[in-house]
Each structure stands twice: as structure tokens, then as C-alpha cells.
């Protein structure tokens, strides 16, 4: 991120912040969508991230740390969105799983569905770790530093996320049938 823009935005230049926002919103949205698996909630998370970033920017001591800082805000916004969405589990069950806009032809429908179902069983902390590592390609140390979480915790989260998804793929290979929605409320 352009340091001059960050400095200007930190000093209250709204146009500078708008430039930052336009330059980073797509990337933030892509990450949020992978974590939340829902366009509306991903947009909400990005909106909350940008508003919080603008509000708290004067307190950012090192402008060079802006990228890591805003990613941390985004991940926490995703946590909040994911947990708010699950406030009523019946509603979570009812949420539509949005399919990819352009399905990857290298993956079968069953594989994608299995990953989707497995991923939805993960706590948001594990989802975020998995996405930052596999989607952004961040090393675990960078994830730990960005999220300000011990490296061991990150390793543990990635381990459990991977185990859950592998189990989902294996289970799907055996059965492949999603659970039906029940009337719960």
C-alpha cells in the first residue's frame, strides 16, 4: 500500500482513504467471501472493515504495517459476521450455499460440495487460518504475526481445519448425502 496515501488518510484525508479502499476492497472481499461463503455477509464484513479502518487509522503507529493491520481487522469482522450468522442455528441451516460463479472444471461437483459442507463445520478462526494459508499463500508465521496469535495456535487451527476437510472428503466418498433441513423453530 502506498505509504503516502496511508499517511494522508491517517491525517484525515478522506479522499486518500477512498483511494485506499478502492484499491483494496476487491482483495478484502475475496478473502471475506472465502471465509464466510456468502456474498452479503462478505460485503458486510468489508464494509465494517473499511469503516473501522478509517475510524482507527490515526492510532496506527507504523504506516508500513497497514496491510497486515487491515487484514487483521477484516478477519475479526469475518469472525463477527460468522458468529452473528449462527446466532440461530436454524437460520444457519437455511442459508443458501452460494456456488462459485465459474466452477473450476478440475474439481468435481461432489468434491466441491464436500469441501463446502466440511468448511461450514469449521469455527471461523479455523476458516480464516485455512483461507489465509491456502488462498493467499501466507506462511503460518505471517498469519500468526498478522492476527497477533501464537504460532502454535495457528498451527493447531490449520491442523484441525485440514483434518475436518479431509474427513469431509472421505465421508463424502462413502455417502455424499447432505443433511436435510428440519423445522426447528
Amino acid at each position: 500500500m502506498d505509504r503516502a496515501l496511508v499517511e494522508a488518510a491517517r491525517s484525515g484525508d478522506e479522499e486518500a482513504f477512498a483511494s485506499i479502499a478502492r484499491g483494496s476492497a476487491d482483495r478484502l472481499f475475496g478473502i471475506a467471501h472465502r471465509i464466510l461463503r456468502d456474498t452479503g455477509r462478505a460485503e458486510d464484513a468489508v464494509q465494517q472493515t473499511l469503516v473501522k479502518a478509517w475510524k482507527e487509522l490515526p492510532g496506527l503507529r507504523e504506516s508500513d504495517r497497514f496491510d497486515a493491520w487491515i487484514h487483521r481487522i477484516l478477519v475479526h469482522a469475518c469472525y463477527a459476521e460468522a458468529k452473528r450468522a449462527s446466532a440461530w442455528s436454524a437460520n444457519v441451516v437455511a442459508l443458501t450455499i452460494e456456488g462459485p460463479s465459474t466452477p473450476d472444471s478440475t474439481l468435481g461437483v461432489e468434491t466441491r460440495d464436500a469441501l463446502e459442507r466440511g468448511f461450514r463445520r469449521l469455527p471461523p478462526e479455523q476458516r480464516a487460518c485455512f483461507v489465509l494459508h491456502h488462498y493467499l499463500g501466507w506462511p503460518l508465521g505471517e498469519i500468526a504475526e498478522t492476527l497477533e496469535v501464537p504460532l502454535g495456535t495457528i498451527k493447531s487451527r490449520l491442523h484441525y481445519a485440514t483434518a475436518t476437510l479431509r474427513a469431509a472428503l472421505e465421508a463424502d466418498a462413502r455417502t455424499g448425502s447432505p443433511a436435510s433441513r428440519e423445522r426447528m423453530a
Partner: protein
């Protein structure tokens, strides 16, 4: 599947999907930025939202008003707490059981199987549904539940550790029984239950605040901080730092719980819309208990 095969599969799956945020969403964020003042650098970045002197003073005033037994509503809605009571439309739209769907702006009344007749008015672009005999959900566009009406008996003994099961014995049937039980739950911050009268029905009002972190709680998809379960199995859980305004009312023997959820990032406009709905609420007995809940 080898580790390399799994990693390739995971990456391919993650690379699917949208990568561009809509112009509308981005512009909405920038509009909100325009309305938001930056926090001065000399102020700490994280201040507990609940403990500013102003909030404490406001809470104290609210509690005093309710404790002295002032009937704030006298036939009006919950929102007599927040503003003038609006005039309901003469012919409410009947809300029946179904999946979440957009609601036309206007006044609605819950029908069977929901066990209390709740009349409320929603602004434009809200959606909602009656999930069954025990819950009605209202939500703003692209948001989670904002206002919830529900009836339940089963309260978890420790929200952070749902595997410990429900309170044993369960809370008694009165509004005070439930309010007291919620107040005593470990890890949940609760205000002292205050007497309140809503639309002619008496009960208790309190505010619940979840811990800022659930890191030490038992993790599960259905919620890490569970408060209660409805008779048909839906689980209510809070998110980190979530704050719920709660009214527990005895509507001719039916213990109705009304919640207004205050979530992270909620704007003043969104909160104003929630308060408008609360202001509009009317209550009446009427829908008899269904025979199906177990």
C-alpha cells in the same frame, strides 16, 4: 489422498468464487466512512463499549425508570422506551410460518402456530419469517436477525460450554424465573432485571452482553456461546461482544421473549430502524399452543 493432492484440491476450490465487491457495497462503505469521524490518535483504540460514563448514566436512568414501576407503554409497544407510539395500520398483514423472505413495508401480525399475537411494523427492505410455533425473526437487508420473538424453557447451564447441558432444574415458568436464570449464567454479563410493562403485559427487562472472546469456549458450528434452545431444537447463541436488549413478558400465560440484537458495526440508522420496530409492537394472546412441540 496425499498432502500435496489435498493442498492442490483446497487451493483450486478456494480460487473459485467471486473476487470483485459490488460498486453498491463499496459506495455504501465509503458513505459510512464519510459519516464517521476518526478517533483521535490519543484515545485508546479499544474502549469497552458498555462502560463509558454516558452509557452507564443512560443505563442507570433506564433502570431507575423501570424499577419505580413507571408504565412506559400503557397499551403501546415495547418502543415506548424509545419514542412515540406510532399508529398501526388498520389491516395488518398476516405472517404465517415459512422461510425467510422480503417483507413489504407495513404492519404485520403473527398467526398460528406462533403462540402469541404480535403486531409490528417493519420499514422498507426488511425480511423476516415465522420459523414455527416458537420463533419469529426479523432482519435488515443482508444482516442477521435484528429483532426476535421467541418462547422457550431450556437454558444452557454454561453458555461457554454447551456440552454441560441445560440448567437442572430448568428455570421456573415466571418471567422473573427466566430473568434470574439468565442473570446468573456464567460468563454472561447481565443488567439487573427491571420490572416493565409492555402493551399491558408485565415482565422483566434486562440487557445481556457476551464476552469479548470465546477463545476458551467449546467450539461448534451451532454456536460457541449458547444461551437457550427452543422446543423444536433451534439453538440461540451469541457472537463475541454481542449485546442483546431483552424483554421477558407474560402474555396471558405465554412467556414471550423479545430481543433486539446490537451487533458489531451496527450503524445509527440500523439501530433507529430496530427501535422503530420495537416502538410499533402490540401484543395479545390468541394463538393457542400447538400440539406438535416436544
Amino acid at each position: 489422498m496425499t498432502d500435496n493432492e489435498f493442498n492442490r484440491t483446497a487451493r483450486a476450490w478456494l480460487e473459485d468464487g467471486p473476487t470483485l465487491i459490488s460498486d453498491r457495497a463499496l459506495q455504501s462503505a465509503l458513505d459510512e466512512v464519510h459519516r464517521t469521524r476518526q478517533r483521535p490518535a490519543w484515545l485508546p483504540a479499544r474502549r469497552p463499549r458498555m462502560f463509558t460514563p454516558l452509557r452507564l448514566a443512560a443505563a442507570a436512568v433506564a433502570i431507575m425508570l423501570t424499577v419505580v414501576g413507571v408504565n412506559l407503554l400503557s397499551g403501546g409497544g415495547v418502543g415506548g422506551l424509545f419514542g412515540p407510539t406510532p399508529t398501526p395500520s388498520p389491516t395488518p398483514i398476516v405472517m404465517r410460518e415459512g422461510e425467510p423472505a422480503p417483507l413489504d413495508p407495513g404492519t404485520y401480525v403473527t398467526a398460528d402456530p406462533f403462540r402469541v399475537r404480535v403486531t409490528f411494523t417493519v420499514p422498507a427492505e426488511w425480511q423476516g419469517n415465522m420459523g414455527g410455533p416458537n420463533a419469529v425473526f426479523l432482519s435488515a437487508p443482508s444482516k442477521g436477525d435484528e429483532v426476535i420473538f421467541s418462547l422457550f424453557e431450556k437454558v444452557y447451564s454454561d453458555p461457554c460450554h454447551f456440552e454441560q447441558g441445560f440448567l437442572d432444574p430448568l428455570p421456573g415458568p415466571s418471567t422473573n424465573d427466566l430473568a434470574t436464570a439468565l442473570t446468573n449464567l456464567p460468563g454472561l454479563q447481565a443488567t439487573t432485571p427491571a420490572d416493565v410493562t409492555v402493551a399491558g403485559y408485565q415482565g422483566k427487562q434486562l440487557t445481556l452482553t457476551a464476552p469479548a472472546s470465546f477463545a476458551d469456549c467449546t467450539q461448534a458450528e451451532e454456536g460457541n456461546f449458547r444461551l437457550w434452545e427452543l422446543p423444536l431444537g433451534a439453538i440461540y447463541s451469541m457472537s463475541e461482544g454481542q449485546r442483546d436488549r431483552v424483554w421477558i413478558l407474560d402474555v396471558d400465560g405465554q412467556r414471550l421473549v423479545i430481543q433486539a440484537l446490537e451487533k458489531v458495526g451496527q450503524t445509527a440508522d440500523q439501530r433507529a430502524q430496530v427501535d422503530e420496530i420495537l416502538d410499533s409492537i402490540r401484543l395479545a394472546p390468541g394463538n393457542p399452543p400447538t400440539s406438535s412441540p416436544s
